[in-house]
């Protein structure tokens, strides 16, 4: 379980998070929505210990994340996958090498086992044909999918998705949503998903929270939010939004 309580964070002279609380039970996908620049990515980075809160607490499976030393943090991160907003692929490694990186650094797998696993996840995100290409020569959507493959390759228990369908065409978006749902159902992965897309929220989300002014303005199950008449809920989840 991921539990953020009363999170406060000041960055670049501005209060970004002001008392955010989110609870993601095991095996559930929590969708975090909200206007641009409200601190959604910053929130994800607190969960994995890149940022430390100024005030408030971050717990994963009851463990206090900001209090972890380097070793504990490494152990936690090995159980988590993180899809960065633009993929954040290492620029001078091919797509396949990027996806293989966490395996090569930390697992005892042989080279052919690594190759097999890499091929398998690349296929899941529809990128098996592009393994040899380098990040500068592929599109934004492909980078994102390679980033997703890298986040999933170690079979993590938790995955943090930062806009998993940004810049994808409707067909591939659909595939990715299915994949995220499947990852939860088959591997009971717990997910925290940042997205602007209603389709993504309804297809892969269990609960939705909408961030505004540093805390959740509304929170509820997908149906509750879809039916809600809160202006933000209507803007993000109502008819005609997307």
């Amino acid at each position: 379980m991921i539990e953020l309580k009363n999170l406060h964070k000041r960055l670049g002279g501005r209060d970004i998070l002001k008392g955010l609380s989110v609870k993601v039970p095991k095996g559930m996908n929590f969708v975090l929505m909200g206007p641009s620049g409200t601190g959604k990515s910053v929130t994800l980075k607190h969960v994995i210990g890149i940022f430390k809160p100024d005030l408030g607490s971050v717990h994963v499976d009851g463990q206090d994340v900001p209090a972890m030393d380097r070793k504990q943090l490494m152990a936690l991160r090995k159980r988590m996958g993180y899809l960065f907003q633009n993929g954040a692929l290492i620029n001078w490694l091919s797509v396949a090498d990027n996806v293989a990186l966490p395996l090569k650094e930390h697992s005892q797998l042989s080279r052919s086992e690594v190759d097999d696993r890499v091929h398998e996840v690349l296929k899941l995100v529809g990128m098996d044909h592009a393994g040899k290409q380098e990040p500068p020569e592929i599109s934004g959507g492909m980078k994102l999918r390679a980033g997703l493959a890298r986040a999933l390759v170690t079979n993590p228990e938790y995955v943090l998705y930062d806009e998993p369908n940004a810049g994808l065409d409707p067909i591939i978006s659909e595939q990715i949503h299915e994949l995220i749902g499947e990852v939860r159902d088959r591997l009971s992965v717990t997910g925290l998903i940042v997205t602007h897309s209603r389709a993504c929220a309804t297809q892969c989300g269990d609960r939705i929270g909408i961030l505004e002014a540093g805390k959740l303005a509304v929170e509820g199950s997908v149906d509750e939010i879809t039916a809600s008449d809160h202006p933000l809920a209507r803007a993000f989840m109502g008819q005609g939004s997307d």
Partner: protein, 264 residues
Amino acid sequence: MNLAAGTIRFLAERTGSAGYVVNLLVRTALCLPRIPRRLRFLLDNCFNAGVRALPVTLVVAAFAGAILAMQTGIELRRFGNTNVLGTITALSMCREMGPFITAVILAATVGSSIAAEIGTMKVSEEIDALEVMSIDPVDYLVLPRVLALALMCPLLTVLSNLIGIYGGSIIAEQNLGVSPDLYWVGAIESLTSSGTLLPKEVYVGLLKSLIFGVAIATVSCAAGLKARGGALGVGLAVQTAVRNSVLLIIVLGFVITWFFYFLT
């Protein structure tokens, strides 16, 4: 009042970033046992540094040697003493000029590209991505770069020294009327005849270039790792890297020569 506050802030910032560089150097040293895993990156980085810096180093070294021979030659001519020109050119090239110009060129070519590369990785969240995969950026990025320059800077310096001495010989012959034989005998003797295998000048010069290489790489990596705010931030990182490298080369060069020739 404002001036005082500004000065204090400036000094605090400088101390802070110096502290960061020293900290980075220590962390890099602690990663040294992991170098077998980074051998490929190390070789890549060595090769890159060589390719980037070699051509311009050779040209500059030839001219530097020529200038050295010219400057000392003009004075020596007044005392009718140009027969020691080879000795003087060889020794000052090895002790001071070779390490200095090689390091400055490495700072401008390799240091700047290290800062740009790591800075770009920083602002596009690639460094964060490494952290998230539990890969230490110091081990993965900094260590191979620091070691590569620690190896390549002395290597290029040796080449610079040789080319510089050769450049000096042209001036000696063409403009100062020193016969090549005399020049080269002086140069070679000064570099071979000593109690040790090689004279102190060569060792001091090589030690210097080793330290310069480490300094350039560490300072440039630090600048890259601290970059933020998009392309502009990367530009600033490059500027910081080159400025701090050149500053360090001058100051460390002075300190090392002073230590070996005036303190001991």
